[in-house]
């Protein structure tokens, strides 16, 4: 007898590697809690989080909508509603989420960093692609930011589960006023100004500290809230470090994964869901990467959600589908969805080649 003798199958590499499918591997066997059909989920995070929210809603999960399209707003316009629970756009770093929550709860001054586009519409630089049509005026952009922060506050107060997908550690900071951008000014909108916009790469310690503050804000405003962290398996489009982007990707993801591990161990209300491992582990043999080897393909998304529903939402097990069993029409729809969601990734604008295709 030794400490490993009575451990379950999933604790052993060989057993997992021999499993017939991802569901049998039971990637999520370490879960602390499951959810019920009535739980309301709010989602935020990087590009990958958009897939999560969309699939959650498609499979019948309750996605909390704190900011919804008003009937006066044309459905066909580029209004930006429906991707996340509120129109914050992609939140890549924990610091970005922290600063959003601090503003929403009045813990720091609201940041109004708005710029005019060449077409005369205005953009909120803290969510430059969240509202693709932009705003009619500076005043409108500011007023909408106020409402957005109100919606975020309501979202935190009402949610049962907050799913946050950590994406990056690399960030561009406005050093004059001390806040970070989701994407470097000058790429999607605005102008890059040296000495005002400075690069920073968050360390493990900084990420843990930021996560702790995020957890603190959520808990102090919603004592019943549970937080489910995931780490986006999607690689960096570009790195500002003087090294290869794949090396930076590994460094970033390692820091994020370690930081989540650290905080989940110390907070009973927090848990981790291993979408990162489902996609990137050797078990998948790379089959979940989309063309370009950076994004996750629809089969990968489906597998992640199948595991999620089976593991965390037992009420919905019957709804969990197999990607291989998709009808051609459904498959086409999923591919369209995949393409659409890829387009929503702000980071794409960092790569001149990809940017020219937009």
């Amino acid at each position: 007898m030794n400490p490993y003798s009575n451990l379950p199958r999933q604790n052993f590499w060989n057993a997992s590697a021999r499993a017939q499918d991802a569901l049998e591997v039971d990637f999520d066997s370490g879960r602390k809690f499951v959810f019920s059909a009535s739980d309301q989920f709010a989602t935020a995070g990087s590009c990958f989080a958009q897939h999560f929210a969309t699939q959650l809603a498609e499979r019948g999960g309750r996605v909390l909508v704190a900011e919804a399209r008003h009937p006066l707003v044309s459905e066909s316009s580029e209004h930006g509603y429906g991707l996340f629970s509120a129109r914050y756009g992609n939140i890549y770093t924990v610091r970005q989420l922290l600063e959003l929550l601090e503003q929403a709860f009045g813990l720091r001054e609201t940041v109004y960093d708005m710029v005019a586009r060449p077409d005369g519409r205005w953009v909120d630089m803290l969510r430059p692609r969240a509202v693709p049509m932009g705003f009619a005026s500076l005043e409108h952009a500011r007023a909408d930011r106020d409402y957005h922060l109100h919606a975020v506050r309501q979202m935190v107060e009402k949610l049962d589960v907050f799913v946050f997908t950590l994406g990056l550690t690399e960030v561009w900071i406005n050093v004059e006023h001390g806040y970070c951008y989701p994407v470097v000014p000058g790429s999607v909108a605005g102008q890059f100004i040296e000495n005002r916009h400075c690069f920073h790469n968050f360390s493990f310690a900084e990420t843990v500290a930021d996560l702790e503050r995020v957890i603190g804000i959520v808990a102090s405003n919603n004592a019943m809230a549970r937080i489910l962290f995931t780490v986006s398996p999607v690689g960096l489009v570009a790195t500002a470090e003087q090294r290869n982007v794949m090396v930076s990707t590994t460094a970033s993801k390692s820091i994020l994964r370690s930081a989540v591990d650290a905080v989940v161990r110390s907070h009973s209300s927090c848990d981790y869901f291993p979408s990162f491992e489902i996609i990137t582990s050797p078990y998948s043999r790379g089959k979940y990467w989309a063309e370009g080897l950076r994004d996750v393909n629809q089969s990968g998304i489906n597998t992640v959600m199948d595991v999620f529903f089976r593991s965390r939402l037992p009420d919905f097990q019957a709804a969990a589908g197999d990607a291989a069993a998709l009808t051609p029409a459904h498959q086409a729809h999923q591919e369209e969805l995949e393409a659409a969601l890829t387009e929503e990734c702000d980071e794409m604008f960092l790569d001149p080649e990809l940017r020219s295709r937009q």
């Binding site: 919804a68 707003v73 009619a136 007023a143």
Partner: protein, 287 residues
């Protein structure tokens, strides 16, 4: 005995009722049929059930304080089924103005120096007064500030909504300008009323009303003023005079005082009398 010429021709939808009630015994011209409709006061009995006279009519001005003797009017109930009196058909290059045949015929009979007064349409902003959608607000150049905690609707959608309302009046008056030579005055509709929930007549829009059934006062005034501003700018371009609501009928915040209201979206004959006096002044009428 030869009849005197009318002081002006009136072409009006429902907002013309307040003016007619103020100056003339015009109801002698038609007979109200059917059971009284509890949604409306006496001013609008017959208006919505098809009893209203459908042709032009002459009526003597009986209000002794006015320097007017008679008017000729064509009042159009929506039960007439005419729809917009004129619209721009954009299917061809440049667009073609299409005018309802009856309107063309009546205008032809009015052609000359006697002014035409329009009280057409104008109830479109009233569609926004009910709080039947999630709360919202929008920015306005005249009325500063927005309500906290509600979405701010983009200017684009506000203007799109208002455009459809304005077009209904604008193209009708463009038709007047193209078809006849008469001086033209358009009377803006009354502003939204104060305390609409206290109105005894809900005009079929609600079964019963509380204050919560209506948009906040400031938002109702925003819609109304935005509509008026856009319409005024359009009508200025076709040399059409515009009459604003009589200031004495409005509160400081721009709402219609209750004593001048008839139902939740119309004004009464007291208001109509103020409009008649404005018209007399604008048209230079004198005894």
């Amino acid at each position: 005995m030869t009849q005197s010429k009318p002081n002006f021709y009136l072409v009006a939808h429902s907002h013309g009722v307040s003016l007619l009630d103020a100056i003339a015994n015009w109801r002698e011209k038609f007979r109200v049929s059917g059971t009284p409709d509890a949604n409306f006061g006496s001013a609008f009995q017959g208006w919505f059930n098809g009893s209203i006279i459908r042709d032009t009519f002459r009526t003597e001005v009986v209000e002794p304080t006015l320097p007017m003797e008679a008017i000729e009017a064509w009042v159009i109930s929506f039960r007439d089924g005419l729809g917009a009196l004129a619209r721009l058909d954009t299917s061809g290059a440049g667009g073609t103005l299409q005018v309802v045949e009856r309107f063309s015929r009546i205008l032809a009979s009015w052609n000359g120096p006697i002014p035409i007064v329009s009280m057409l349409n104008g109830n479109e902003p009233a569609r926004t007064m009910l709080a039947n959608s999630p709360a919202y607000d929008f920015l306005d150049a005249e009325i500063a500030g927005v309500e906290k905690g509600v979405p701010i609707i983009d200017e684009l959608f506000i203007e799109q909504t208002i455009s459809t309302w304005v077009d209904a009046v604008y193209y009708s008056l463009v038709a007047v300008k193209r078809l006849v030579n008469n001086p033209l005055v358009h009377v803006l509709p009354p502003p939204p009323r104060l305390n609409p929930h206290l109105s005894p007549y809900l005009e079929g829009m609600l079964d019963r009303a509380t204050a919560d059934d209506f948009l906040p006062d400031r938002l109702r005034v925003k819609w109304y003023r935005r509509y008026c501003r856009r319409l005024i700018s359009y009508l200025a371009a076709i040399d059409c005079q515009v009459l604003a609501p009589p200031p004495e009928a409005c509160t400081a915040s721009g709402l219609l005082k209750e004593e001048y209201a008839e139902g939740i979206s119309h004004a009464n004959s007291r208001y109509g009398l103020l409009v008649a006096r404005q018209l007399a002044s604008t048209l230079g009428l004198a005894r």
